[in-house]
Symmetry: D2
């Protein structure tokens, strides 16, 4: 099984969902950036008081995992809606950023170290 | 052209990137949720002082759009890394959430209204 | 009437509140930074879909203002708890930062312009 | 020494700082909520990859503590600016919220447990 996200199908679904509800008026890039950040924080909230170990074992907790999946989906939803409205080529943007990160974080300098590139 | 995200290829890349740098130790689900939220906020920062109109026209500003693409990519990067580590079936999670949203926000009740489902 | 926040009294209250519930174990600076960010996002959520004008008139909406006051308080609560645990002299830290901001944003360069200091 | 925050003096300073730079136009409650959330995330970023233990010992690291103080101050700055513009009685709002939290989290039910009140 190939794991793929069919962006075009999702964009199409989102456009109809927003259009049916006359929600395009709310979907400015600014508002979508807010919504994306709010959903990412709802994901964060789940992990707020967990120890690192508890967070690693979260898969065993069906209720928490349902919440994680919901919030990951909500975050992705707004990320993709913004991607569509701003005509971003997501695959290209991501692979460009990955290439930049390889330069910013050369293996020999960043091995085992969680520092920002400008502090390496 | 079909716009698709090849999740399996991205996961594979991310695993090697983290492994080469011995960064798996930092990638607890808790820390990844933090990183995801931090990147979403860096995206938010770009739109912070823009008017709704300026945010709609952001595509005309090449510098700002480069930043938007970078931050969208960083956000997606951590979202997918968490997806991989927690074995989430992202396509399924997203389509489940979409189905829930259709029930939460029936067209007749939510038309033109940006309220949370529990306030409709 | 002088508007003042009696930090010492709040710290004392918070210490007892956490101690009574045996919550000190959860209040690492890392977890408090997460909680602070989560509460700030709950405040953000209230404004998410409002127009600039609607946000300016939010005082007229008693229900929304109750939520705003609650989330502002929750955000402040964690900010002060961290301040106490890390022994930060908050008044001094704030006035130092204000002095820095005056240098970063000289009036003549930043008048009417909402740009970050390094882009002025 | 009494640790107090003189809110009136800070509000006055902030009004002049914004007025001198003609920044009142940017300071809608919506934009201030964004700025507050962005600053809280910059604080979060400092703790992102730290272990709980490292975060507890952050006081020993002068550079990181300088950053913590800066970001705590920036967060507080926007929180107070919003408080002033929305005419919130901060001391009252905070003590109201504390009273609510005592009811939501009775000692006997929440001792040693970091769960949200609706899951207790």
């Amino acid at each position: 099984m190939k794991k793929q996200l069919d962006l075009e199908a999702i964009f199409k679904y989102q456009r109809k969902f927003a259009s049916d509800r006359e929600w395009e008026q709310f979907h400015t890039p600014k508002n979508l950036a807010m919504a994306l950040s709010v959903e990412a924080s709802e994901l964060l909230e789940i992990f707020q008081w967990l120890t690192p170990e508890q967070s690693k074992n979260i898969e065993k907790n069906t209720d928490l995992m349902k919440s994680v999946k919901d919030e990951v989906s909500d975050t992705l939803y707004y990320l993709l809606r913004m991607t569509d409205l701003l005509n971003i080529d997501l695959e290209k943007a991501l692979s460009n950023k990955m290439a930049e990160n390889e330069k910013k974080y050369p293996v020999e300098k960043s091995k085992g170290i969680a520092k920002k590139y400008n502090q390496l």
